[in-house]
């Protein structure tokens, strides 16, 4: 074992550049790549090209956990029946609430038009599967099985049933990567649901969740406060739960205090996530270069041909019908009365209640 292979001959006169020189060249190339990649986006085509080539590898790597999941899906008939019954009861409850919601939505739209605000409520979502592939344990990222082909764009918000999970940072044709809100590179504008206090939640990079740095020392925030996303920055849809404060820390001798929050979304569990097309994407200009579809100044998100986009609201067709009907009435009534210049485009008012 502790001898060289018998066919090994050390070349008497080695040709070509030596080992040290080749290493030096490759290390230099790596450093140049690192430098270039962290400073600009020009290597993105190379990256997505490699991602596409590696798709089979990722698929194979995700196979074991997929098989495990499939095995876990085998269930007794009785369990299925009882689960079905539960779900039916739940759906009935939701439908009843939805009826009320539609009326509230219409009312909200009318009120917003009276206030001449541009924000609309329509959002479209798409279900994406989380690919069961390990990531660097020091980066809080997940891979999704939807990509540019489904209209996914960089900066798109990702939510689950409990709250905001993160945003898309990398898009390949058939897959994408999302950065979770607990990553230390991630910050999300939030507001405290109880008081409307606006701040930013930064990921802590560990299991403990989010950090709210630089709060004024007299800020009204306490343990148990719900944080919801605010539409500042225009990247996340407003009003989704983000986290719950579990500790408020006054630092002795500091002008600021810090609060810590647990994320609401179940980041490490679950197999599916929802991609949200928020209305501000339509008018956003900073990320439109990364998106394949041209930005349209309407609230309708780009259509996704292959996948079934499940609308957040069940009746999206009737909403455009009511909107134009109300429009001609509203503007003449409020225009002279209000100063349109002072109206913020995305009001930071009370967060919208979602179904």
């Amino acid at each position: 074992m502790n001898s060289l292979h018998e066919t090994y001959r050390r070349p008497l006169f080695p040709r070509g550049p030596g080992l040290g020189f080749r290493t030096f060249l490759l290390a230099l190339a790596s450093l140049a790549l690192i430098f270039h990649d962290t400073r600009s986006d020009s290597l993105q085509p190379l990256r997505s090209g490699i991602t596409v080539t590696l798709t089979p590898l990722v698929w194979v790597a995700a196979l074991p956990s997929r098989l495990l999941n499939a095995a876990g899906d085998i269930d007794l008939r009785a369990t299925l029946e009882s689960e079905n019954k539960d779900l039916r009861a739940k759906q009935l409850g939701f439908e009843a609430r939805l009826l009320k919601l539609e009326a509230l939505e219409a009312e909200n739209r009318r009120l917003r038009e009276l206030m001449a605000s541009a924000a609309t409520l329509e959002e479209q979502v798409l279900i994406a599967e989380i690919v069961a592939v390990s990531q660097d344990p020091y980066r809080h990222q997940i891979s999704l099985n939807k990509g540019a082909r489904d209209g996914v764009y960089r900066g798109q918000a990702l939510v689950d049933a409990q709250g905001i999970m993160g945003q898309i940072v990398e898009v390949a044709p058939f897959s994408s990567k999302a950065l979770l809100i607990t990553d230390p590179d991630h910050g999300i504008p939030v507001e405290v649901n109880r008081t409307g206090l606006q701040t930013i939640a930064v990921g802590r990079g560990d299991e403990r969740g989010l950090r709210l740095p630089f709060l004024p020392s007299n800020a009204d925030i306490r343990t148990g406060d719900l944080l919801v996303s605010s539409a500042l920055g225009g990247r996340f849809p407003a009003g989704y739960p983000v986290g719950e404060v579990y500790e408020v820390k006054h630092l002795a001798g500091e002008h600021f205090m810090e609060a810590y929050a647990h994320p609401r979304a179940r980041l490490n569990q679950g197999r599916q996530a929802l991609l949200v097309w928020s209305e501000s994407y339509a008018g956003a200009d900073d990320e439109s270069a990364a998106s394949p579809e041209p930005a349209v100044p309407t609230a309708t998100p780009p259509a996704t041909p292959e996948a079934q986009p499940t609308p957040a609201k069940p009746a999206p067709t009737q909403q455009p019908a009511t909107a134009p009907a109300a429009k001609p009435v509203a503007p003449p009534a409020n225009k002279p009365a209000q100063k349109p210049a002072t109206t913020p485009e995305t009001p930071a008012g009370p967060p919208r209640v979602r179904p």
């Binding site: 502790n2 292979h5 040290g20 290493t23 790596s30 990649d37 790597a61 390990s134 980066r139 590179d185």
Partner: protein, 161 residues
């Protein structure tokens, strides 16, 4: 005696396997202690098979790892290139050691790899839990004898026929 072509086939196959092992999802608690499979495999080939050039391949595989982990392009490539350089440079020493001594002698190599990853993450403003980062050194050291023996077995078996 195997032809150089089948040797390269084995080489690429083992690298693919290492990439898969690196990718397969582990429970959250274990994933920080996952051994550096790709570095292990590359170091094995660099140590045992002077007939194939591992240096450039390690660069390419490193780029693949960077894309898979969404790290800055070149981060793992640099680490792997340095690992191969160290192993090839010190090959004449390593082959004299019995397996258990070589296992310990390789610890500095894994440490250098982990340090490079840590350093580049720091330089690109990506802070992370600093203490868990050194855990792979331990697990990689523990896995080296296993990988080495299994690869030796696999590599010798067809040759005896």
């Amino acid at each position: 005696m195997k032809s150089a072509r089948s040797l390269h086939g084995y080489f690429l196959l083992s690298l693919l396997l290492a990439l898969l092992l690196q990718l397969i999802r582990l429970p959250e608690a274990l994933s920080a202690a996952r051994p550096l499979w790709v570095a292990l495999m590359i170091a094995y080939w660099a140590l045992r098979e002077p007939r194939i050039s591992t240096l450039f391949t390690s660069f390419i595989v490193g780029l693949l790892l960077d894309v898979l982990f969404a790290a800055p392009l070149g981060q793992h490539a640099l680490g792997l290139v340095v690992v191969v350089y160290l192993v090839e440079r010190l090959r004449s020493i390593f082959v004299l050691f019995p397996l258990w001594q070589a296992t310990f002698a390789l610890i500095p190599v894994w440490t250098v790899f982990c340090f490079l990853m840590f350093w580049i993450d720091g330089a690109t403003q990506h802070q992370a839990n600093a203490w868990l980062r050194w855990l792979p050194i331990l697990s990689t050291t523990l896995f080296w004898p296993l990988v080495f023996s299994v690869m030796e077995l696999l590599r010798q078996a067809p040759e005896e026929e």
